[in-house]
Amino acid sequence: MVEYYLDRIESTSHLNAFLATYADEARSRAAKVDARLANGTAGRLAGMVIGIKDLLCYAGHGVHGGSKILEGFVSQFTATAIQRLIDEDAIIIGRQNCDEFGMGSSNENSAYGPTLNAADTTRVPGGSSGGSAVAVQADLCFASIGTDTGGSVRQPAAFCGVVGLKPSYSRVSRWGLLAYASSFDTIGPITRCVEDAALLLEIMAGGDEQDSTVSQWPVPSYSQYLSIDGSKKIGYFRESLDSEGVDESVKAVLRQSIERLRQEGHTVEPVEFPLAHYYLPTYYILTTAEVSSNLSRYDGVRYGYRSPKAHDLDSLYRLSRTEGLGAEARKRILLGTFVLSANYYDAYYTKAQRVRRLIKEEIERHFQEYDFLLYPTTPSVAFPLGEENSDPIKTFLADIFTVQANVTGVPAISLPLGTDEQGLPVGIQVLAGAFQEEKLLAFARYLEQFVQASEEVPI
């Protein structure tokens, strides 16, 4: 398997999905895992070849966060989530391209060039876990581990026609995840099917000494309980079928899913989110505030990029950060610095924290009535390269369906439930209440079978 994937990565290098591969190491690990398989002592992920986003630490391996400022930096420790996979005999095959420090939704903000969508190489793969989504889409590894702060696992999964799971905030330890916005960041799998996502989450999730914010709730065996019982009550975002901002092809896939669910005896109703207009402002105020602080450590003093033109302390900071960080990162740092400044703190940061609480209460009310919420993951299919930068407002609008789960901390999964007329993947997202991954994954598995069944018909 390792050879197969290494060959695939090599032959699709134009996609720029992997920034580094660990060929020799993967081969030698594969040999060891084979031996364990032979004597029956292998772990639960034996032989599973996994790629990791360039925001996750792996001891002795580079981690650059898609940024020039960390070029050449080698991590001295392994992220808890990754270590747990390794402990179950997964094989880490390489490091995947992403938007700089997770900021972007097209993968064009990577200092190492954009990743291309394998379904149409003139289009973006989404972001920020673009490389990770393409790697699964193009069969370059069995599964990828991405990170999701505002949709960075789900949106590229939707654009690339694969499954992307964002767990509840704090379900998976953040130790070893390069921080973008600490109170939003999550680690999630990108896979070909729900079952794989369930197994990977089950192994990565749970308490960790190294992360004081991680949940201590026991982790159910998600992969063992992938069936639903009885009829469910499902709400969908009214605007996702009514708004002109959502592409017809996307609406069609959603409509299809809704009809099918109704046929199967489930209740599906439109729901209102009066606070929806506040999702993005809340998300951007709080995440930029956090990122402005989280990226302060990249200062050219101890590690990473240091400008050769620096001649004193002030220029060391200024030049290293200006030259080392990309435009999007710099923009968000400036925004965050502004919203945290003494004169504006209450007007922005404090207010956004309050609104965040209201948005949480809003979704909690819905989950008292509905088992699941169902939306498009994105209002459109993958857009052409270069389009993002031309119209930032439209890109921001594309975030609307995904950021809700990050602002509120609930789990969400994007499923490839259809394609548009050009064959570009459309992702449909399901959300459940906080820490309801077990229910969410079972229902996602159920939805996934709709398409698998219909695909099997022509055969």
Binding site: L56, C57, V63, G65, L70, F73, S75, Q76, F77, A79, R174, W175, G176, L177, L178, A179, A181, S182, S183, E209, Q210, D211, S212, T213, A289, E290, S292, S293, L295, S296, R297, Y298, D299, V301, R302, Y303, L313, Y317, T337, L340, S341, A342, Y345, Y349
Partner: protein
């Protein structure tokens, strides 16, 4: 400037004291918290702020901060939150310091100081918060390079902030002295100002008496002793009054104290005030402190100097001076308390403030280095109380011998040195009878009223006893024997 002019101005001082907590490891990492290691020895990926690291709170630091809060009568916040203080400096690895801003662990409270004129004053605390220390920038004289040592980065600190409540250098000095004593008592900080375990910044302003508005405050840094703090305050008092008297205006600034000249000097003027952009640290959860936790810390709380002073002066009837000396350090108190379990408190106090202190002064050592244990000292005191050894023999011969050979029991040592008094009245009586029999004329003269002759008999008895008789007892017995003679 004349004192008259200065007297028109009120001096206002607030202090910020940083105390490094005596924890085994750092506040957010497991690296050792130790002064004096080789540079960059106690550093981990967390201390260096490597990408992907997260802080992990050392509960011990919280406990020590609670202990301080309880000792100063502060309100311990049931829910306390860490904040990030954002600024760039090379010795600050993450580009922010994890500190506390809006919800510090201890709020209010006070520290009592006693001034030279005997008055006591409570210095009100604004709050005490937990934070991490930064690393150290080292400027080598030989080059323009700056070297960075991150050993200190992440050392747990409490910052103790007073209200602007002090009115003289004496008060500020007394306060800092009291803080140092208190943190040592509480075992939360070694109080070493030279090594920087205890550091003090002062906010100083002046205003005309009666003016309800505080003057422009100047922050003074780099004062690593009580004396320097007081010098800096005195200097600033004069400087600020002079500036105002000459019609100038003071600027809000940070100044450094130069111990060489005793003056303060302004640092490079910064373009604007630093905006630290505080916000709640999202990598840590709020600390919840319940009654159970407080009760547990209360149980571990040692008696405090102020309470002990009251006990020693009141209950035990010691003099103020003795009580002050005994409560100087926790070690002295522990020694004293252990000794008084086996000997009379007043006598123990006399020994500690007398011979033991002399030993400390002469040997230039702390009480912790004193070789004689409290139990052994108490045994020596009992020998005196029981008249087995005279006080002078105990102080001049037995005590120095014990210091040399602290493992030998005082009684055995006294016997060896032949210091045991002939307190045994049978032996003494025989000697007395002998002496009286040998001096019949003098006995007659005594009986006739020449009472001063008793000294002669006592002296003779002492001579016969080779100095081992207790003079007091001998005196009594000789008098009684003479009275009994017909």
């Amino acid at each position: 400037m004349t004192d008259d002019i200065k007297a028109q101005y009120e001096l206002v001082i607030g202090l910020e004291v940083h105390a490094q907590l005596l924890t085994e490891s750092k506040i957010f990492a497991s690296d050792a918290n130790h002064f004096g290691s080789p540079p960059n020895h106690n550093i981990s990926v967390i201390t260096l702020g490597h990408p992907g690291t997260l802080p992990k709170l050392n509960q011990k630091a919280v406990d020590l901060a609670i202990r301080f809060g309880l000792a100063t009568n502060s309100t311990i916040s049931p829910r306390t939150v860490f904040d990030r203080k954002n600024y760039f400096y090379p010795d600050l690895p993450k580009g922010y310091q994890i500190s506390q801003d809006k919800k510090p662990i201890c709020v209010g409270g006070e520290i009592w100081v006693k001034l030279k004129d005997g008055t006591e004053k409570a210095i009100p605390l604004h709050h005490t918060h937990l934070e991490e220390d930064a690393g150290k920038s080292i400027h080598d004289d030989q080059s323009t390079d700056t070297l960075l040592d991150y050993n200190r980065a992440g050392t747990p600190l409490i910052e103790i902030v007073t209200d602007p409540a002090m009115r003289s250098a004496e008060e500020a000095g007394a306060y800092l002295t009291e803080i140092r004593k208190l943190v040592r008592y509480l075992d939360i900080c070694d109080g070493n100002m030279e090594e920087g375990s205890l550091r003090c910044d002062a906010n100083i302003s002046v205003r005309k008496w009666g003016d309800p508005v505080l003057g422009t405050k100047v922050e003074i840094k780099n004062m690593n002793s009580v004396r320097f703090l007081q010098k800096a305050i005195e200097f600033e008092y004069d400087r600020q009054v002079s500036v105002l008297e000459e019609g100038g205006t003071l600027i809000q600034e940070t100044r450094m104290f130069d111990p060489e000249t005793g003056r303060t000097y302004g640092m490079r003027v910064k373009e604007s005030m630093n905006d630290y952009r505080y916000f709640p640290e999202p990598d840590l959860v709020p600390i919840l402190i319940d009654e159970e936790k407080l009760a547990a810390e209360r149980a571990k709380m040692p008696a405090l100097p102020r309470q002990l002073m009251q006990k020693y002066e009141g209950e035990l009837g010691l003099s103020h001076a003795d009580a002050l000396l005994l409560t100087e350090s926790k070690a002295t108190v522990a020694y004293f308390e252990e000794a008084i379990a086996q000997a009379a408190p007043k006598t123990v106090a006399n020994w500690l403030t007398g011979p033991v202190r002399t030993w400390m002064n002469e040997s230039k050592k702390e009480l912790s280095a004193f070789p004689v244990s409290p139990g052994v000292l108490a045994a020596l005191i009992r020998l005196v109380d029981e008249n087995k050894v005279s006080h002078s023999a105990a102080a001049q011969k037995l005590f120095p011998a014990l210091v040399e050979r602290p493992d030998v029991a005082p009684l055995a040592l006294a016997e060896e040195l032949q210091l045991i008094q002939q307190g045994n009245s049978d032996v003494l009586q025989a000697l007395i009878d002998e002496v009286l029999a040998a001096w019949p004329d003098k006995v007659k003269e005594y009986k006739k009223g020449k009472k001063g002759l008793i000294g002669l008999f006592v002296g003779e008895v002492m001579k016969k006893s080779k100095g081992q008789a207790d003079p007091k007892v001998t005196n009594q017995l000789v008098a009684r024997s003479l009275d009994n003679l017909s």
